[in-house]
Subunit: 343 residues, 2 copies
DNA sequence: ATTCATATCCAAAGCGCTTTGGGAAGATGA
DNA sequence: TCATCTTCCCAAAGCGCTTTGGATATGAAT
C-alpha cells in the first residue's frame, strides 16, 4: 500500500492525503479523520526512503562502533547505551543505524555515511585523547555528539560525560579517610580519555593528602575480568601490597575480588575495593545491598540524554552546542572498610 | 556531489555513469576507468535512499532487540552477535538497522519495518518456545532468520542454533563420569527456547545414568551474576547440597563461584562447575588455561553466519530455507574435578 | 557498396514521497 | 448582487538514483 493507492481509494489527491497525515492545516477535520482512518485500516505507512528522498532527511542516526583491531573487543557498555539511545529515537521517529568497524578505518566509515547521505548525524563512542575523529567529523559537516570527551581537542563539539575525575577523586578520598594509603588503580586502556581523567582524579586526591604516587600500583588495560584478576594478584604478591583497589569497571572488579579471595583475604576487611559501576542491566551490583562500593552512573540514561541532545542539534543547527556533565553517585557497599592495622 | 553533477563533470549521461559504477557491460573499459577515477576524486557515493527507492531494495537488515519489560534487561551476548553480523553486512554493502523495543510491542515493530519498507529482512533474537513472532513474520512476508530455534513452531524458518541439548548432555555426562550425582542446573529464563533444550539435555543424561531428577537443584532466571550467586548459595545450604553446578552463562558462573568460595569451599575440588561460554569479547574464560570447564560456542561467529544465511535467502528467495546447528566444544578447565568422597 | 551485428552511449520514465503554485467552491461584507 | 477572502483541494515538479528502449557509430560480413 502506497500513497497513490491510498489516495485513489479515498478519491483524494496524493497531496491532500500526505498533508492530512502530516498534520498540515490545509485539510478539513472531516477528511483528515477519514484519511487517518483509512491509513490505519490499510496499514499504510510512508516509505522511509521515499520520504527521506523528498525531504532531504535520513531520519536515521548512525552509531559507529569501533572494534579494537588488537583485542577484537566490543565495549560491554555498548548494549545498554544503545538501549537508552534507542528509546529516544523511537520517540522521535528516528531509526538507529549501526556500523561495526575495525578502529583502523573508522574515518572512512564516517565519510561513507556522509556521502551516501545515510544518516542525519552520528554518535561518537569511546573517545580517545586527542581523538582525530572529532576534527574529522567537524570538517565533514556531519552533526555529531560524543559520549565522553576528548582532552586536547580544539574544535567545539557536543558531548555528555560522567565527571570521571571527581568520581575517582571522591572515591580515593573515601579510601584515604578510611585510613588507606596503599591504593591501587586498575584502569581502562591508557589512551581512552576517561581513563586519563580517572587517573587524574585519583592522583590529585593522593597528592592532596601527601601520599606518594606509586606507579607500581597503577595498571591499565582492557577492562576484562581477567585483567582485574591478574593485576590484583600481581600487586598482592608484592612486599608492600595495596590495602585498597580502585577499579574502572564492575567486570574487572569481579576479577579483583577473585584475586583477593584466592589469597585467603576478605574483601572489605583485608582489602577494600571501589569500582565504577555503569549500571549495566546484566551486571547488577548486588540485588538489595550493593556488593561493591561504587561510583555509579547509568550508561543507559546517558544514551537517552545524548541522543536527545543530538536530535536537538540536528533540528536546530544554529543553537549553540550542548554538553552535559553527569555526577556519579558514591554508593557505599560492603567492599570497603577501615584499613587493616599494620601488625 | 550527486550523479547528475558527476555526469556533467564527465560529459557523460547519468545512465552511463551509473552503469560504469555498477559494473554493467555496456560501458567501454576506458570510460569506466575514467568514471571510477572521477567518482573517487569527487568522493561520490550514490545516495542509499535514492538507490533504494529506484531498486526497491532497502539494502538494510533489521535487528529488533527486545528489552524485557520486567527486568529492563539487554541480553549481554547482543554486542558480540551484532559485531559478527556487522562484518557480514559490511562485506555485502548492507546497513544494519537496530530497533530497541519493549518485548510487549515487538510485533508492531515488525509491521512498521515492513510497511515503511525500511529493511529487506530481519534477524530474530532470543526466541521463546512457541514464539509468536515467527508465524507473524512468516505471514508478513518479511524475510527473516532466527538466532536459535522455537520448539513447537509450525511454520518453516531459517535458523542457526547451538546444539544446546547435546552440549548440556555431554557436560552432564562429564560430571557423572567424575562421580557426581548431585548436579545443579542454573538455567536461563524458563520460556527461552535454549533454556528448555539445555534442561532437556541435562535431564536426559541424568535419566540415562539412573540418577533421579531433583527439581530443587534446578533454577531458572535472568542470567546475572547475582542470580548465579543467590541460587548457588541457597542450594549449598541444603542438607544434601550439590557437588556440581551446571551454569547457563559465564556471568552467572561468576556468581556460582562467589557462592562456593564464600562458603569456604574450593571450586574444582569441593564443587565442580561447568558453564556455557558464548566467548564474549569482554568476558574471556581465563587467559591461557580456562578457568571454567565450559561448553563453548562463539556468538560472534554465529552472528557472522546467520547474517550470511539471511542475505542469501534474500538474494535467492526460491532457495529452500537454510539452517545450521553448531556443536559446542567441551573445554576442560580447572573448575571440575572428581566428586568429593562422602566422608 | 550495402547489410547487419556489436559496442557505446543517451533520453526519459519511474520508484514513493513532499511541496509549490494554483484553482474552485463557499462564506463574508458592502 | 458583486467583489473579496477563506477554505479545501489538486496537478505537477522534484528528490537522486536505476533501467528501459532506443540511437549512433564502428567494423565485419556479404
Amino acid at each position: 500500500m502506497n500513497l497513490k493507492e491510498l489516495s485513489q481509494k479515498l478519491g483524494l489527491s496524493q497531496t491532500t492525503v500526505s498533508r492530512a497525515l502530516n498534520g498540515y492545516p490545509e485539510v478539513s477535520q472531516s477528511t483528515r479523520r477519514r484519511v487517518e482512518e483509512a491509513a490505519r485500516t490499510f496499514n499504510y505507512r510512508p516509505s522511509t526512503r521515499a520520504k527521506g528522498l523528498a525531504t532531504g532527511q535520513a531520519l536515521a542516526i548512525g552509531h559507529v562502533i569501533p572494534v579494537s583491531s588488537k583485542h577484537e573487543m566490543v565495549n560491554p557498555i555498548f548494549g545498554d547505551f544503545i538501549a537508552g539511545a534507542g528509546e529516544t529515537y523511537a520517540r522521535h521517529g528516528y531509526e538507529m543505524m549501526l556500523t561495526i568497524v575495525d578502529d583502523a578505518n573508522e574515518l572512512q566509515v564516517y565519510d561513507g555515511l556522509k556521502s551516501r547521505r545515510a544518516v542525519d548525524g552520528v554518535i561518537l563512542h569511546a573517545p580517545r585523547m586527542d581523538d582525530m575523529r572529532i576534527p574529522h567529523l567537524h570538517k565533514l559537516g556531519l552533526p555529531f555528539a560524543v559520549h565522553g570527551r576528548a582532552s586536547g581537542c580544539q574544535v567545539p563539539y557536543a558531548w555528555l560525560d560522567v565527571n570521571n575525575r571527581r568520581a575517582f577523586h571522591r572515591a580515593t578520598d573515601f579510601l584515604i579517610d578510611l585510613g588507606h594509603t596503599r591504593i591501587a588503580l586498575i584502569n581502562g586502556l591508557e589512551d581512552m580519555d576517561f581513563a586519563h581523567r580517572r587517573r587524574d582524579g585519583y592522583s590529585t586526591s593522593l597528592l592532596a593528602h601527601h601520599i606518594p604516587i606509586d606507579t607500581s600500583l597503577m595498571r591499565s588495560g582492557e577492562m576484562t575480568e581477567d585483567f582485574g584478576y591478574q593485576s590484583t594478584r600481581d600487586m598482592l604478591q608484592k612486599a608492600d601490597p595495596p590495602t585498597a583497589v580502585l577499579a574502572s569497571s564492575l567486570i574487572s572488579a569481579l576479577g579483583v575480588r577473585r584475586a583477593i579471595e584466592e589469597r585467603g583475604l576478605v574483601m572489605g576487611k583485608d582489602v577494600s575495593v571501589i569500582t565504577h559501576d555503569d549500571v549495566l542491566s546484566y551486571l547488577q551490583n548486588g540485588s538489595d545491598v550493593p556488593i561493591f562500593t561504587a561510583t555509579r552512573s547509568s550508561v543507559r540514561e546517558a544514551g537517552r540524554r545524548l541522543a536527545e541532545m543530538l536530535l536537538i542539534s540536528i533540528a536546530e543547527p544554529d543553537r549553540p552546542l550542548q554538553n552535559a556533565l553527569l555526577e556519579a553517585e558514591l554508593m557505599v557497599g560492603s567492599s570497603t572498610g577501615p584499613a587493616p592495622r599494620k601488625d
